[in-house]
């Protein structure tokens, strides 16, 4: 029992270490100091999730059974990586430019953002990966049983009483780790720094462990390289008898799986930070795999030699050092295998959970939500929750499979079966990347055929020992039809079952894919997506999918805020406004902008969902003849020419847009100028009317003596109102002319807000003000009185204009760099988009609201003050009510005066 305890302790310490590394990496990345976290070396090491416990322990067992055949598992990926220039580079480029989140997302996006396709791929990936996760859990329990039960244990992992609890503990810990570090960021393209660095560390650990055991075996047990080679020649596996069919087939399957496995796609494409890292990984990862397999044969041979005949070769890596009394080395090997198992489960869970939540959970949830703009609640929390639940679900499914399956050999075979399963994605993937003519219908048909054949010819027979029905199927074929025998279709027998399944499933898959693609026509969106994928290296192949529409920029902003978060969304919209030569947060909804926005959103929820959500606001994407012409046009010269024209016309469009806005504003200003006279006349005459009427009553002396005091009071109030109006006008004019002297002092934001809230709500406290005082503890150096004046105005405005039954104002403070941002957000109806441009102008008021008693100068004064203080005040669209954002530098620059 003590050995079990020390094993658990070592594993725990190791896991805690990983947590720490991941945590520190996340911290560094947040602070922008994590450049080295994204080096080519880390990228290369992260690819090692390919080498799971199945290869760590299993390669030796494989070699014991089939000699050098185990090498094919590594040779396939080596070929893929050697050809990175024309294969992986394109995949990674597309993944980056289209903000792809998973392999399901890639295939769905390529074939017209079809969610049906995404669902098919997701389901296939889950079915193909679950047993593989179970295999990892099994490897850990087997390893533990060797330590507790001796070298001959491990034949039946479930025999050991602790096996179940060990597996459950490992599963629980992994789910926790993955949720913690895998769902920190929503945007899959924001990448998981912590996870990747942890995987890289585990890569080093498992390689070091395997090499340590190898060095021990070659130099200590065998006495050097020469004697080791002699020992190999003398061993039972000395004869080279690899079947050419299996050699080629397995190399091919491994190559395909290397691209198609969800976890490989995750580290290779989604987590890729720089395309040039491929140039290093292209040779460095093959070297890593070479090192991983270098000592496999020596360990096998010496193990077969030294260990008793019944010992499980799958565990030689552990049992060999143990049998020689080298417990320390055995512990190290255990940690190596543990690393291999955990890194696979973590990355697979992240990849699968992204697919499940983006393509299954979110679309269902959105369907119950109605129209896009009115999507209630924060979609981000929903997505994160969906991902967390999916992670727990995926890991639990793996654990369940481990418990329910027969264990032992039935599971060991699942590695290759899983490889053949995911390689069914290959035709759709390659076809989508390189062939214009591939269609959605073709992809769906091919995938379904390949998937069905895989289940029928490989997965079902692998379960044969457990199920009577399957055993009968294998003996006589279904319904006694011998030619439908799962392992000898059409009577073609004699083939190795795995090669048989591979050939049938993949060939028919590809054939159906091509044939159906040829007889169906892609719809326009498919065609455009196809052109973007196939010609990703052409810069000009930027096909617009959205027609110019009357989409409300504000609706899009509201939606974007809920998916990628308010700050990110506001930054995106503001940048686009600036690019169009506009100010504020609401750019024109040009097709290019909607495209860009869709791509950003798809980084969070996948292409199909993002497309559907935008379509709810913008209406259906329509493709114009010009778009299609642009796709059809292959002439480079034409492209060159049109690129230049495009640049010019874009510039013209920008100028026109600026002119249009300027003209609109001038017209509006001139109208306001006219209104100005009328307004100022009204503002002056109204109090004067009361003053004149009551003063005449008093003058004529015919007033009720009891009421003279009251009348005098009215006259007094109204003359004060006149004075206030004149003060405001003068204040504004002084501010506008820059003659104001600022009285810069030190103070704290919280105190200024306290003062302003007190002054603004003195006349009545019907407005509830919600503040978070902890965040207001910000030191300021500015003109505190002027700042307070701005706050009073904004709070008083909310009090006056917020028409909610229970008016409420939220004052939200956060610092951005060396400025503090203060948002005033009420729960009223907000300000219509067409008025947002003019509210900061003099006498501009929304609706007629004399009741409010203002002259419409407040916001104009606020804006002038904030400009003097070196900051700004602007309307923040897309909040629940009217919202104003004040940005103030922490230290006012004297030069700003």
């Amino acid at each position: 029992m003590t050995i079990l305890n020390s094993l658990v302790a070592i594993a725990l310490i190791y896991v805690v270490l990983l947590f720490l590394i991941a945590f520190v990496a996340e911290r560094l990345a947040v602070r922008g100091r994590g450049r080295w976290l994204r080096s080519p070396l880390v990228y290369t090491l992260s690819l090692s999730v390919y080498c799971t416990a199945w290869t760590f322990y299993g390669a030796v067992g494989y070699a014991a059974r089939s000699g050098l055949e185990f090498l094919t598992i590594y040779l396939g990926p080596t070929l893929v990586l050697a050809g990175w220039w024309w294969g992986l580079r394109k995949l990674v480029r597309i993944g980056r430019s289209q903000r792809i989140t998973s392999i399901a997302d890639l295939i769905s996006s390529r074939f017209g953002k079809s969610n049906a396709l995404a669902v098919i791929v997701t389901l296939m990936a889950v079915i193909g990966t679950t047993p593989y996760i179970a295999l990892q859990l099994q490897s850990v329990t087997l390893a533990v049983s060797v330590f507790t039960g001796g070298i001959m244990a491990g034949a039946d992992p479930r025999g050991a009483p602790d096996a179940q609890s060990v597996a459950a503990m490992v599963a629980l810990g992994l789910a926790l780790f993955t949720i913690l570090f895998g769902t920190r960021n929503l945007d899959a393209n924001e990448r998981h720094h912590g996870v990747v660095i942890a995987i890289a560390v585990e890569a080093v650990v498992k390689l070091a462990a395997l090499i340590a055991v190898g060095v021990f075996v070659v130099w200590e047990l065998s006495g050097g390289i020469g004697p080791t080679l002699a020992r190999i020649e003398a061993s039972p596996i000395s004869e080279w008898n690899v079947s050419p069919g299996r050699w080629m087939g397995l190399t091919f399957v491994a190559a395909a799986a290397f691209i198609c496995l969800p976890r490989m796609f995750q580290v290779m494409v989604v987590e890729n930070a720089d395309e040039r890292h491929l140039a290093v990984a292209g040779w460095a990862f093959p070297l890593y795999m070479l090192a991983m397999s270098l000592f496999v044969v020596p360990i096998t041979v010496v193990g077969l030699d030294l260990l008793p005949a019944g010992a499980n070769p799958d565990l030689f890596v552990l049992t060999l050092p143990l049998s020689q009394g080298r417990d320390g080395l055995a512990f190290f090997a255990f940690i190596g295998g543990f690393s291999a198992a955990t890194s696979m489960v973590i990355v697979a869970a992240i990849a699968l959970s992204t697919m499940v939540s983006n393509h299954i959970v979110m679309p269902i949830w959105l369907r119950f939500q109605g129209e896009g703009a009115s999507v209630s609640g924060d979609v981000r929390h929903m997505v994160l929750l969906a991902r967390r639940i999916s992670i727990a679900g995926v890991v639990f499914l793996g654990y369940l499979y481990f418990r329910l399956s027969g264990g032992g050999s039935a599971l060991a075979a699942i590695g290759l079966i899983s490889f053949v399963g995911v390689s069914q994605f290959l035709p759709a993937l390659i076809g989508g990347l390189f062939w214009h003519g591939a269609t959605r219908a073709g992809a769906i048909a091919g995938l379904l055929v390949g998937f069905f054949l895989w289940v029928y010819t490989l997965l079902l027979p692998s379960l044969a020992s457990d199920a009577q029905f399957v055993a009968g199927l294998l003996d006589q074929g279904p319904l006694g039809q011998g030619w439908l025998d799962p392992q000898a279709l059409f009577g073609i027998s004699g083939l190795d079952p795995l090669v048989h399944a591979l050939v049938w499933a993949l060939t028919l898959n590809a054939l159906v894919f091509v044939l159906v693609s040829l007889v169906t026509t892609p719809d326009p969106i498919e065609r455009l997506q196809g052109a973007q994928f196939v010609r990703v290296f052409d810069r000009s192949a930027n096909a617009p999918g959205w027609s110019r529409s009357a989409a409300e920029s504000e609706d899009l902003l509201i939606m974007a805020q809920r998916i990628i978060g308010p700050q990110e969304a506001q930054r995106l919209f503001q940048a686009e406004s600036a690019r169009q030569g506009l100010q504020g947060y609401l750019p024109d909804t040009t097709p290019e902008f909607i495209n860009r926005l869709e791509r950003e959103l798809s980084g969070s929820v996948g292409a199909a969902t993002a497309h559907a959500m935008i379509a709810q606001i913008v209406g259906r994407a329509s493709v114009s003849v010009e778009d299609l012409m642009a796709v059809a046009d292959e002439s480079a010269q034409m492209k060159e020419h049109s690129t230049q024209l495009e640049a010019k016309s874009e510039e013209l469009a920008r100028t026109a847009r600026q002119l249009r806005r300027a003209n609109d504003k001038l017209t509006e200003l001139s109208r306001q100028k006219d209104a100005f006279l009328s307004q100022i006349s009204h503002e002056l005459r109204t109090p004067m009317t009361s003053i004149r009427a009551f003063s005449e009553i008093l003058r004529d002396g015919d007033g009720d003596p009891g009421q003279t005091g009251k009348f005098a009071g009215v006259i007094h109030d109204e003359s004060q109102r006149l004075t206030r109006l004149l003060d405001d006008l003068l204040d504004l004019s002084v501010l506008e002319n820059g003659q104001v002297t600022l009285n810069l002092r030190d103070g704290r934001l919280g105190q200024v807000l306290d003062h302003a809230q007190g002054a603004a709500t003195a006349m009545g406290d019907d407005l509830r003000v919600r503040r978070e005082r902890a965040r207001e503890d910000v030191a300021l150096h500015t003109d505190l009185d002027r700042l307070s004046q701005v706050f009073i105005n904004l709070i008083a405005n909310a009090r006056k204009y917020c028409a909610a039954p229970r008016p409420e104002l939220r004052i939200d403070v956060h610092t951005e760099g060396d400025a503090v941002v203060i948002d005033f957000i009420d729960n009223g109806a907000g300000i219509p988009a067409d008025k947002q441009n003019v509210i900061f102008e003099k006498f501009a008021r929304v609706g007629s609201d004399q009741a409010a008693g203002g002259a419409g100068l407040g916001l104009a004064i606020c804006r002038e003050i904030m400009t003097r203080l070196g900051g700004s005040v602007s309307y923040l669209p897309g909040q629940e009510g009217a919202a104003f954002r004040v940005i103030l530098p922490l230290r006012a620059q004297m030069a700003a005066q």
Partner: protein
């Protein structure tokens, strides 16, 4: 009991002044401070004379005037327009729409009283 005047105006102090001046002269003064349902208020109170401000919350006094003139019961009702904008253009609009009297703010109390008395006689 004098004749009934309905004052449609949103400034409380002006309402108070006009109410005081007219009630002292024997008029029965009602006031209404919202533009939106001013037409309904006229129908409900059936006044003999209406004083109507131009800049009202919810709806412009001109719109209300137009509606009243189109209404069968109020087509001939004496209506005095009040405005604080005081531009010649406002008087023209009021005339076109069929206002009985037009008065700009500020006004002298005597002028208001005279105008109301005249309107009552003319009607």
């Amino acid at each position: 009991m004098g004749k009934r005047v309905l004052l449609i105006e949103d400034e409380p102090n002006i309402i108070e002044a006009i109410t005081y001046i007219l009630s002292r002269d024997g008029w029965d003064v009602l006031s209404h401070s919202n533009g939106e349902d001013a037409v309904e208020a006229v129908a409900a109170h059936a006044p003999d004379i209406v004083i109507l401000d131009v800049m009202l919350p919810g709806r412009s006094g001109y719109d209300i005037l137009g509606d009243l003139r189109r209404g069968e019961a109020t087509a001939e009702l004496p209506i005095m327009m009040l405005t604080a904008r005081g531009q010649a253009r406002d008087r023209e609009i009021a005339d076109e729409l069929g206002a009985t009297r037009f008065m700009s703010k500020p006004f002298s109390n005597a002028a208001v009283l005279d105008a109301i008395r005249d309107m009552a006689i003319e009607a």
